[in-house]
Amino acid sequence: MYLADFHLHSNFSDGKLSIPALVDYYGKRGFGAIAITDHFCEQTSLIGRASTYLGVTLTTATFPIYRELLKSEQERAWDQYGMCLIPGVEITKNSILNHRSAHFLVLGNLENIDPNLDISELSDRVRPEGALVIAAHPVSTQKIEKQTFHLWDRREELAPKVDAWEVASGPYLFDEVRYSGLPMIANSDFHSEKNMTSWKTLLSCEKKQEAVLQAIKKQQLDFQFYREETVREPSYSTLPWIMGPQLGHYGMGNVDSLQAISK
């Protein structure tokens, strides 16, 4: 049995760590499989274009380099940590309306990714080529942030085209997904070290991309809560005169601190 996390962001979009740093971070904690899934915003919306200008998304220009780096890090992750790194993207369709916003992960084969396609069309295109489509945080994340309900609104229509739905994103379990009967997966939506304490997926299949993707598809998985040990040391915000000293710096984690929570 090993831990897996399939929703990680690097500094190719809005994550804090680089791809090699993510590999080292998860590898050192003994994870068996991860997927790096940077935002790839659709370019037909104003918010998507703004994200491009702000440099917080993959673009058609950076995507080839991203893919190549994932390929080379796949080898290093395996050689150095015995960890399976699966290439991925988070197709990001943001609107000012939560019910028109959708995020979905594509894992595995990234050859024919077009962020401007509807999930239904993209799923028809990538799934026959071996990729998996996962609905990311489809219901309320219980955090003050942009919500993405569009996929959940269309769940009946999309059910045959989505391989799994996130039942947890970070530390929160989504009861709507949990009791829906839809295939599930738990991820952290990792942007920085502070997101490490979260639900993860537990697998027992071989640590190979095909085997891992198959296990998700066939739902041969479980979920566990991973708690990162917190090292309390004072740090200061960039505006100390307003905020004062802040506490809560996250340090090294410990797999022994896992708390199994049943589905």
């Binding site: 200008y53 080839p64 390929k71 080379s72």
Partner: protein
């Protein structure tokens, strides 16, 4: 402005204290196209380097390339040099420089690669000064380019651009954490670029240098500037060439970083002077003409100081500076008005992020 000038001075006075511990062997790649004045001397300077182990690979795309005769002359003059000519272009994408370089890159014997343009002329200690700074944490070393031996109006305008605005831009962006890489001089490890897919991945971009720097920083490696500027031999250069080249560079900048391009006029002496003069007149009633005159004089002094660091400042350089500062806003408007560029006889359409679409042959 003053800060940028100060940073430039600091950058070029940054001498290495310690002796270099090891000098890794280097493969120098020289893409060639056409014979410009000074080519023989530029290329020959690479045969005279004080460095224990290096090879030079000249690459051309056609057997009829006129630069071949220049290379052959040098190969017979320096028979013991580890140098060869490669004429085997590949098609990796629309970037002609990468297509030209690919075979030489694959043939390169050493892990440390230096890609250096044909108009660069170096001093014998060039590699000795450059290579030891390629530490494990460094991904790529580029250089500030000093424009030297300018002839003609276009040449002087080019020198004025390189020796003032561009030099300051390079050191300032590095200081602010957004370093630019320029293809005229790029030193890196093949094993590092391999992690991004190798040189062929860069063949889809017009600004392969920018993307190399961008990608390498994603590996948590740094982009460094060489401790001293390298010399670009400008020679005779027409005004039309100057305009076309800067139109291309500007449109590439616009395609890669449109927001940064939009605020560029703030860094033009004329525009920022006018804005400052109007503001101070409205706020405090200062004479706009006096404010503008003082602003231009101060700007000119700072530019003159940087120019003197790069090459000898002269009356001709001052004249070229005045013309260039006047042209900058017009050039900016011209850049804004289109998305196509001409490069080595072909027209290209620029896509977002510096990607290229093939155009017609001109």
């Amino acid at each position: 402005m003053g800060w940028g000038t100060w940073i430039a001075f600091k950058q070029f006075q940054n001498r290495r204290e310690e002796e270099p511990s090891s000098l890794a062997p280097v493969s120098i790649l020289k893409p060639l196209k056409g014979v410009d004045e000074g080519l023989l001397e530029n290329l020959e300077s690479f045969f005279k380097l004080n460095y224990p182990s290096y090879e030079i690979l000249f690459s051309v795309t056609e057997n009829t390339e006129p630069a071949i005769s220049v290379v052959q002359k040098l190969l017979s003059k320096y028979p013991s040099a580890d140098a060869k000519l490669v004429c085997e272009p590949q098609n990796t994408g629309p970037n002609p420089k990468i297509n030209n370089l690919m075979t030489a890159y694959e043939l390169a014997k050493h892990d440390v690669i230096l890609i250096s343009d044909s108009n660069i002329r170096v001093k014998p200690n060039y590699l000795l000064n450059l290579v030891p700074d390629l530490r494990d944490s460094v991904g790529i070393i580029t250089a500030v380019v000093a424009g030297v031996s300018a002839k003609g109006l276009g040449g002087w305008l080019e020198a004025s651009y390189l020796n003032t605005f561009f030099a300051r831009w390079m050191v300032l962006t590095k200081k602010l954490g957004f370093p630019s890489v320029i293809g005229k001089s790029m030193l890196f490890r093949k094993s590092i670029l391999k992690r991004l897919g190798g040189l062929k991945t860069l063949g889809h971009y017009i600004a392969e240098d920018y993307m190399a720097g961008h990608g390498i920083q994603k590996l948590d490696l740094t982009v460094e500037l060489m401790r001293s500027p390298i010399e670009q031999f400008i020679g005779p250069y027409s005004y039309q060439n100057f305009w076309a080249r800067h139109l291309r560079w500007g449109r590439i900048r616009k395609s890669i970083a449109p927001l940064a391009f939009l605020i560029e006029p703030l860094f033009f002496s004329t525009f920022s002077g006018v804005a400052g003069a109007i503001s101070l007149n409205v706020l405090f009633g200062f004479s706009p003409l006096t404010v503008w005159g003082l602003h231009m004089a101060l700007w000119g002094i700072c530019d003159g100081l940087i120019y003197q660091l790069m090459d000898r400042f002269s009356w001709k350089a001052l004249g070229a500076w005045v013309v260039r500062e006047g042209l900058a806003p017009l050039l900016w408007i011209s850049i804004l008005s289109g998305n196509t560029v001409s490069w080595r006889g072909r027209d290209y359409r620029l896509l977002k992020g510096g990607l290229l679409a093939e155009g017609r042959t001109t």
